[in-house]
């Protein structure tokens, strides 16, 4: 166990409702949740590993595989849907060869499908790492993706 993770456990150990914050901070630290870390969290929170795994798998935010270097979130909110978000999925498929939920073979980009990024008036939008790109078409998205160098 490394120091950063140990400090995390120590900090949250005795706080009320600490399970989800612990999972979130661990994922922030590691990029994903692995079995060993979840077992350690179970131990400090006094719960069973199954319970921790049960909580983690309930929420969409948690990943159990290492993510790609870049994360591409494709918004499938209502406004994006009626403005053609499905076409963006197709463009991603043809450009990167992956579907939502997958990571490119070279480990560069993970593609996620999200419910709403809250930028409805710029629909359809994607979020590449921390940056939102709006008013996209399949072609424009391909240009955005080429900038990441994949």
């Amino acid at each position: 166990m490394d120091k950063g993770f140990e400090e995390l456990l120590e900090h949250w150990k005795s706080q009320k409702g600490n399970v989800i914050p612990l999972l979130q901070k661990t994922q922030e630290l590691r990029g994903y949740l692995d079995r060993e870390d979840m077992e350690a969290i179970a131990e400090v929170t006094g719960k069973s590993p199954a319970e921790i795994y049960g909580v983690a798998t309930f929420y969409a935010q948690f990943r159990f595989q290492p993510p790609g270097k870049h994360t591409l979130k494709v918004c499938h909110g209502t406004a994006c849907h009626v403005n053609g978000a499905e076409m963006l999925d197709l463009a991603i498929k043809t450009e990167l060869g992956v579907e939502p939920g997958e990571t490119t073979e070279d480990g560069e980009v993970s593609v996620e499908r999200v419910a709403c990024l809250g930028c409805c008036s710029l629909a359809p939008v994607v979020m590449l790492d921390q940056e939102v790109h709006g008013r996209l078409t399949g072609d424009k998205l391909k240009k955005v993706l080429r900038k990441v160098g994949t």
Binding site: Y59, A91, C116, C119, C120, S121, D139
Partner: protein, 598 residues
């Protein structure tokens, strides 16, 4: 001194406001101009982003929209240096989108710096809290809110004053006040905008509520997808604590209240109050049976009161203006204003606040400017996955809780997505159901399985494989899902299906009987073909086609191989001669020449 304000909300930033901000900062400091640049939230006119406002020493205000760095340089050169406003980028203050709104909750958004408590105080901030703790008893505060007629803005419209009254009435030394900011409806961003634009207003509302019900601890449960809102809330909380507006013995009184920010982890069902509390406690966010209601046994077993962000944003204004003045706005049973996120195929989208009782037509045409590209209006979707689609014949319906519910939709939290003739209503129903189906927590059988079976039927119909008997089965199952689900997610999940079946049944029938998608949206029922007479053989379609379905020699008519085409529409977008046609239904006889059939 002249001041410049840049709107840096999430959508402003997405539209390029950061660039405008950086240009301003850089250029003004280089030129050593005595002009301050401040950050503000969103004024709600998302279609005009990035925006800046110039306020002169004499109090004159100029609003500029749709800027980029070059335009910003021009504003600096001609207006800030030259003293002459750049007319062509200027947005008049009587611009209908802005002028027809009534701002109570959003009064400060876009005008003050959300990261400055001084700005909020200067706008009469925390006056209501001061008044409550110094001059009013908790019962008087509750009575004031009851008199105002305020109803919960999270969707169901439960009277806020009554909710507080019930929470107050429950004995217990420990009580909690929770702000529900788990804005999960896809197509809604009101709460995000308010939290980003005026976080102190929400804190003040929470503190007044806590004082009224007797709580000393509170939680704000925010979606993790809203990092900027979380950051600004945390700044606001620490500022309020420093000024003794939160914390122990607030303003020297006997009232103490502390607030924690809790990040959600991505589960739509956590917007339901019992699921939300389970999630704060660190469990799977699954709803529990009510009663006991949270007011009796809520978070960690203590009496708890939960209000939505926008509801809390109304509290301080009510105490400031007085319940009677507030109740003068709106209709008999729905008081005050409602914030909507206007999006979809609307011309001028963004966040708007309108008085209750305004008609949908006035919102869509008067404020939103009608449909993009002047296409034909088809429906407006209210209430997200729990709501429904309202057709044109009902556009004169008033926006209030009861009138909207009578249409089969619900007021919901405020998502208002406008759809035009190119939106397929069967697909919209399928879309919402696929959302609720995947977000169902799985506790109730009908919600878990019933929505799945309904989704399968809708998928079949959109693929041209539906049967007429599917329609009756959909209706039957919809009713059962509504009746047999514990929480609002299941109880309302069938609404989008039921309203589209009610108002747009002919579209379902077209998909089933004629294998046509009238909106030309459903991929299995459409095809792209080359119009021979229009094709110049420029090869552009062949270049963009990812599957080599579009082929042809230079200067010769191209063709699209239907067996290879994945209907991505790239050729249709790319063609400069309108030589690619989108069709649905039976293949026309003459099509054989340009289409390779299986």
């Amino acid at each position: 001194m002249t001041e410049v304000f840049v709107g840096l909300g999430s959508c402003g930033i997405a539209a390029g406001a950061r660039e405008v901000y950086d240009t301003l900062r850089q250029e003004l400091s280089q030129r050593k101009l005595p002009i301050s640049v401040s950050v503000t939230g969103c004024i709600g006119a998302c279609h005009l982003e990035p925006q800046i406002e110039v306020r002169t020493e004499e109090g004159e205000r100029f609003l500029y929209g749709q800027l980029d760095s070059d335009k910003t340089l021009k504003v600096i050169e001609e207006h800030l240096v030259g003293g002459k406003a750049v007319e062509e980028y200027l947005i008049p203050f009587d611009y209908p989108y802005l002028a027809k709104q009534k701002k109570i909750v959003l009064a400060n958004s876009g005008l003050i710096n959300p990261e400055s408590i001084e700005d909020y105080l200067a706008a009469d901030g925390y006056k209501a809290l001061r008044k409550a703790v110094a001059e009013m008893s908790p019962e008087e505060v509750i009575q004031e809110i009851r008199t105002s007629g305020l109803r919960g803005r999270g969707g169901a419209g439960f009277p806020t004053g009554l909710k507080w009254f019930l929470a107050r009435g429950n004995a217990g030394t420990k009580k909690y006040m929770i702000c529900n900011a788990d804005e999960g409806d896809p197509g809604a961003f009101m709460d995000r905008s308010l939290l980003e634009g005026d976080p102190h207003a929400v804190l003040e509302g929470m503190a007044i509520g806590a004082y009224a019900i007797g709580a000393d601890e509170g939680y704000i449960y925010v979606r993790a997808e809203y990092p900027l809102a979380i950051k600004r809330l945390e700044i606001a909380i620490s500022q309020a604590e420093e000024s003794n507006l939160l914390g122990s013995h607030i303003l020297g009184s006997g009232f103490s209240f502390e607030i924690h920010v809790k990040e959600g982890a991505g589960a739509f069902v956590c917007g339901e109050e019992t699921a939300l509390m389970a999630s704060i406690e660190g469990k799977r966010g699954m709803p529990n049976i009510r009663p006991p209601f949270p007011a009796e046994r809520g978070l960690w077993g203590a009496p708890t009161n939960i209000n939505n962000v926008e509801t809390l944003g109304n509290i301080a204004p009510i105490l400031r203006m007085g319940a009677a003045a507030y109740a003068a706005v709106g209709t008999e049973k729905s008081k005050g204003t409602k914030v909507f996120a206007l999006a979809g195929k609307i011309k001028y989208g963004g966040m708007i606040e309108v008085p209750m009782g305004i008609t949908l037509r006035e919102v869509i045409y008067g404020i939103g400017g009608g449909i993009q590209g002047d296409k034909k209006f088809k429906a407006v979707q209210l209430g997200g996955p729990s709501g429904g689609c309202i057709p044109e014949s009902l556009l004169d319906v008033q926006v209030d809780y009861d009138s909207v519910t009578a249409t089969g939709a619900i007021m919901g939290s405020g998502g208002m997505v406008v759809m035009d003739e190119t939106t397929c209503m069967v697909d919209v129903a399928r879309y919402f159901l696929s959302f609720t189906q995947s977000e169902s927590c799985g506790k109730c059988t009908f919600c878990r399985m019933g929505t799945k079976r309904m989704l399968e039927m809708l998928e079949r119909i959109t693929q041209g494989e539906g049967k007429m008997s599917d329609l009756e089965q959909l209706e039957e199952l919809a009713l059962k899902v509504k009746q047999s689900s514990l929480c609002a997610l299941g109880q309302t999940a069938p609404n989008p299906v039921l309203t589209t079946l009610k108002y747009f049944r002919e579209e379902y029938v077209e998909h089933i009987q004629n294998k046509r998608c009238p909106a030309k949206h459903c991929r299995e029922l459409i095809r792209f073909r080359v119009i021979e007479e229009a094709c110049t053989g420029c090869t552009l379609c062949a270049k963009v086609c990812p599957t080599q379905a579009a082929t042809g020699e230079r200067k010769a008519v191209h063709r699209i191989d239907q067996t290879l085409c994945i209907k991505c529409g790239l050729c249709y977008e790319a063609c400069r001669f309108n030589a690619i046609e989108l069709t649905t239904g039976e293949v026309p006889a003459e099509a054989g020449a340009t289409e390779v059939e299986v």
